[in-house]
């Protein structure tokens, strides 16, 4: 079967700096892959290559076998099929929650306002944000904002969701509610690539964990194996640091 996402020897330079060094990774449909690694190892860059927020220099990335820069996707097809959620939510502060969520359906995908708002309200309700449709982002807690951002990324029914440290900016007591939502998405069969520092979450939610260092995937495997008995000494050292920091 063709993998949903196929990353094939992708290389990316920022100026002279090699940030992705021939990364290859396949993600099957309904699979959840977690990317872990130290700061600066290239996790965000890899994620952003998948939906073309960052253009890579060599290699190929395919979605269901079609290269992501293929004309068949048109100007916005790829963005409809791949959603992304950021660490800092990146909601539009001057728009109400409902307008944040319906912006892309209305302006990009030509959905009539009433229809877009119906779907948005339904999704917001599903994620416990039904009462906040007309609030502005700054009136919400971090956890609530992140839930809105997740709804915004889901509203066009993407096949793949990319999550970049979505709990890293949250107060500890708000992390749980967001992780719970991601588990729910996994149960519904969403294909996800997740950058996270929450090792506990990676352990019980990921189908596979990849350890990145210096722009390469040094080691990958099922979470129990990789997180408990890593083979690569560098992986071991990274995990040891995490354990020392009390985060595993």
């Amino acid at each position: 079967m063709t993998p949903r996402i196929e990353i094939d020897a992708v290389t990316k330079y920022f100026g002279d700096r090699l940030v992705l060094d021939g990364v290859s990774l396949s993600v099957a449909a309904h699979e959840v892959v977690c990317l872990i690694g130290a700061s600066g190892s290239g996790k965000s860059t890899l994620l952003r290559c998948i939906n073309r927020l960052v253009e890579f220099d060599h290699g190929a990335i395919r979605l269901d076998g079609v290269p992501i820069d293929d004309k068949r996707f048109g100007a916005t097809g790829l963005q409809r099929r791949i959603g992304i959620v950021f660490q800092s939510y990146n909601l539009f502060p001057h728009m109400r929650v409902i307008d944040n969520v319906t912006l892309a359906p209305r302006k990009v995908h030509g959905v009539p306002r009433a229809e877009a708002e119906d779907r948005a309200r339904q999704l917001l309700g599903l994620f416990g944000m039904g009462d906040h449709a007309t609030s502005y982002p700054e009136q919400l807690s971090g956890g609530q904002q992140q839930r809105v951002a997740i709804v915004r990324s889901l509203v066009s029914k993407p096949d793949v969701l990319l999550l970049d440290e979505v709990t890293a900016a949250l107060d500890p007591e708000l992390i749980g509610e967001v992780l719970q939502i991601i588990r729910g998405l996994k149960d519904e069969g969403m294909t996800m690539v997740i950058v996270t520092h929450e090792m506990g979450f990676a352990r019980d939610c990921a189908d596979r964990v990849c350890f990145l260092e210096g722009g390469r995937i040094l080691e990958q495997g099922p979470p129990r194996t990789l997180l408990s008995r890593p083979e690569n000494p560098r992986t071991r050292r990274f995990l040891q640091r995490i354990i020392d920091a009390g985060r595993l």
Binding site: R80, S88, R152
Partner: protein, 293 residues
């Protein structure tokens, strides 16, 4: 978090039963009263003493006759007021044109797509040129120069071309203000918009620009006030605005009271605008503080 300790309320044990009342507004108002009265009084005293000192000077009667002659003021008033009405109309027209034209300039300068590069360069050159030449010079060049060419199909009035000069010059400044606002919008906003499939143009219109304009509103307000006075520059090319009308009166009577009338009218218009500008920038500061806190 600490509970506000109102008068006679202790937040310690009674809090669960009866919360101390929030501080009452009336008290705030009263607290502000004394300093306000003191500052108003001191302003009155300082200016009063100054006025008394000036008016008791030996030269005062002559000064009064030259600048504050009630009869001359009354005689000049209707014409000056008429001129002032023209000044304000120029101001409003220029304001709208500047706001729009500067926006176009700023947008062209901010779009990143490669095929915009030549346009971007042209805008940079435009801004350099029009910011580098004194407005007065532009007004003279356009207001006298272009009508003198007598070109068919083009308007011939100094009023028109003088206003054009003001618009071209001010737009260069305002475009840079807009651009600083656009640049100040966080990169994550662009990433979010792009990831949702918005084109560069849609990103600008829906995501970036509303935030950018809000960011620079105080700076824009200051330009509005400055422009309100600078429209008087058009008097040098013979536009019969407030200043010109006052000058005409002065030229025939050798009395300067008409200029004082014009000055008074300008103050009547600019002081409320300045207060409004203060208000806008105070609101902006509060909004930023709230967001940071």
């Amino acid at each position: 978090m600490s509970l506000p300790a109102g008068p006679g309320g202790s937040p310690a044990d009674g809090a669960a039963v009866r919360r101390p009342a929030p501080p009452r507004r009336r008290n705030e108002w009263r607290a502000a009263l004394v300093p306000t009265v003191i500052s108003l009084a001191s302003v009155v005293i300082v200016f009063g003493v100054l006025g008394w000192w000036i008016s008791s000077a030996e030269q005062w009667p002559r000064v009064k006759l030259q600048f504050f002659n009630p009869e001359a003021m009354a005689a000049a008033f209707p014409r000056v007021l008429q001129g002032f009405w023209i000044s304000m109309r120029i101001w409003l027209t220029a304001l709208v044109c500047i706001a729009l034209w500067a926006l176009v300039l700023a947008l062209v300068r901010s779009l990143r797509a490669p095929w915009f590069t030549p346009f971007r360069l042209m805008v940079v050159v435009y801004i350099d040129i029009f910011r580098g030449i004194p407005v007065l010079l532009l007004v003279l060049l356009f207001g006298f120069g272009i009508p003198a060419l007598n070109m068919p199909g083009l308007p011939n009035s100094g009023l028109f071309w003088g206003t054009v000069a003001m618009v071209l010059s001010y737009s260069a400044y305002v475009a840079e203000i807009y651009r600083s606002g656009i640049d100040a919008v966080h990169e994550g906003q662009r990433a979010a918009a792009k990831s949702l499939g918005l084109s560069e143009w849609q990103t600008m219109i829906h995501a970036i620009l509303p935030q950018a304009i809000r960011n620079v509103l105080p700076a824009l307000m200051n330009i509005v006030v400055a422009l309100q006075k600078d429209v008087a520059l058009l008097s040098v090319i013979g536009v019969r605005d407030a200043v010109r009308e006052a000058q005409i009166y002065t030229a025939t009577t050798f009395n300067y009271s008409s200029l004082v009338v014009a000055a008074g009218l300008f103050l009547l218009a600019t002081i409320p605008m300045a207060r409004l500008a203060d208000h806008v920038s105070r609101k902006d500061r509060e909004r930023r503080l709230q967001r940071a806190g």
